[in-house]
Subunit: 431 residues, 2 copies
Amino acid sequence: MDIIKSCFTNYGFQPIETPSFENSETLMGKYGEEGDRLIFKILNSGDFLRKVNDVMMTEKDSIKITSKISEKALRYDLTVPFARYVVQHQNDITFPFKRYQIQPVWRADRPQKGRFREFFQCDADVVGSKSLWQEVELVQLYDAVFSKLKLNGATIKMNNRKILSGIAEVIGAEDKLIDFTVALDKLDKIGEDGVKKEMREKGISESAIEKVQPLFSMQGTANEQLESLKDLLSASQVGMQGIEELSFIINKVSQLGLETATLAIDVTLARGLNYYTGAIFEVSAPEGVSMGSIGGGGRYDDLTGIFGMKDVSGVGISFGLDRIYLVLEELDLFPSTVTANTKVLFINFGEAESLYAMKAIKQLRAKGINAELYPDNAKMGKQMGYADKRDIPYTILAGGNEMEAGTYTLKNMKSGEQDTVQLNGVIQILS
Amino acid sequence: MDIIKSCFTNYGFQPIETPSFENSETLMGKYGEEGDRLIFKILNSGDFLRKVNDVMMTEKDSIKITSKISEKALRYDLTVPFARYVVQHQNDITFPFKRYQIQPVWRADRPQKGRFREFFQCDADVVGSKSLWQEVELVQLYDAVFSKLKLNGATIKMNNRKILSGIAEVIGAEDKLIDFTVALDKLDKIGEDGVKKEMREKGISESAIEKVQPLFSMQGTANEQLESLKDLLSASQVGMQGIEELSFIINKVSQLGLETATLAIDVTLARGLNYYTGAIFEVSAPEGVSMGSIGGGGRYDDLTGIFGMKDVSGVGISFGLDRIYLVLEELDLFPSTVTANTKVLFINFGEAESLYAMKAIKQLRAKGINAELYPDNAKMGKQMGYADKRDIPYTILAGGNEMEAGTYTLKNMKSGEQDTVQLNGVIQILS
């Protein structure tokens, strides 16, 4: 999270946090029927049944009673609270508004491996500008974060809603678009004939399949692929606009260069179809790691419309923190101690020795070296065991001899080596 | 929070986080009747009324029905979840266990100025050691945090539950102890006679008041005050033990020295009387700032007893983040921008110029300089206004001339000064 945050501010994004609670009406109806069910509702306090009439009590209709006994709910994602925030503070916000938000969300799902009832979401969005430079920056931002995490070889896949609209025009039916992209997505696995067979089964016409023939041979560089798309969608105005947008982004990114990620066109990418209006992003983990997407996002032209503020274009990306965590773990990319661990433990030999130790500890701490004293004059084995279990790399043994000489015996817990040095020496070794 | 966290790890405390939800039975009954009422309950999902029988539905008893329709609740403080955590993970934890926790808690209070339904608590505790060195360290930790926050002149007041028990013995009744300390606390305001009058009104006997006469003349250094206490409590074994503990802590702290805080004895300090068993801490803001305590804590010998794990002694302190925030604000101690703000905004003059800008931005970001491009080729005034409103200290104007010469015109937004330099010059100025 620290790495992600530092990249966000490096790119000019500012943090916001919103309350855990939203009014129920802010959330309900925004995530579909399934979503409504999975929203955690907070029971009103006090005599919450007072507002429920006796007829309703007899009916025992849980759904009907909910709105009478619960007015607040826990946030379900960061997007809707963000939209509410933008609308509410529209007069105080400087647009374009670049914000990031890393907070937990809650979902009343059955908990299982990799699915929690409370988990962190991590979003970066810009609202109030239609500039495609934002998309360019978000690709760079993905690249920066994954490079800093040493998660080299991530693929940032891009598509554009307008290209999908163009394809829908070509195949003659928007309602077949999902079936179409799902089938096309299997090209690598089941081959051209397999895909075409599936398309026919889904009711896509022979003439439509013929028209989109170029999609089956999308190969070569991004620019070559864009040329294929131009051939295919030349008759569709919206489709051509999508290609132009995608070209701009790919072109600029290629001129600026990426560190470790790869940017690729994927016309089968259709996430958030009813939501995104322009660019669509999805990030897949480095090859060889079996994990779904570790990030995604896109441009939406009407985030705040649900709250009555029209025509606010935005574009955003999110990071799948839980999955990124699992990938880092699988690839053994976490440092052995992520949090700043204690660097040195002073062994406790009694009161006078402890005071001697505490004076040194004070100096070490002032130098930013994390140090602690074992609190009790316990057996040596127990104290050493504590250092071991806590992964503390150094111990200091300072008894009567050291006190007299004004020295400290510093033990490297890994190598077992010991050095008797003055405090300056300790600071030098531990810094 | 960053400063507090860095001090915590500097002192060997490790972070833990617990889920927002606890089982209702974990929380209920732990905070008294008022607390039970203020705990936010989560409505069960699905058909939550199924488990409620028809008789209960007709009765409409909100309290009785609560446990049938709600199994989870939001954490109310960090102490009970921590106790639950220690008991649950007792076999995996290395004791003494030094943990800190900074997380929001929720209370169904009526929101008002300075009181929120969601707010952060910030605790540091050590469990599994009775060593008084922990108390010494916690005093140092308070001093370190407040000094780093530049909140100089905080007073760390200390008392000991055992001294209070000794006083109770002397006045002849434990049940009068609160009345006694409340009255004594007014010594500065209403004088010795006023205090004695109030004590008599509360039913404290004349002979008791006579016996505790030394408390009215507690003056001088900490050591002199400790001597007065010894005279007073010489007949009370528990009282003398409390004095010994307090002496140890005050002595050691004085030998180690504090940076900016003052440690003081306050025998009227009785917070958490039913909870603390040894040291009691309370921190007051620097003189002249009207604010209640900005921190407090103490030693408890039975934190985990409520969950069936006996004899685990612990000692902890908490920081009142909201109040500390208000004090810092009142004393104007916050830096002008707390979060890492954008250092430089590149003005957008069009596509070619933007690409030129983005190439420079990439270099600046790699050097850790937070930089951004205004996304649209808007009017200069609008772009400059954005930099102003965002408090961005520098802008860069790079048009055709600069592009040709490979330079950048850097404008200091405060002084209005402009310099046309190469990228290295920009990096040098902004670093």
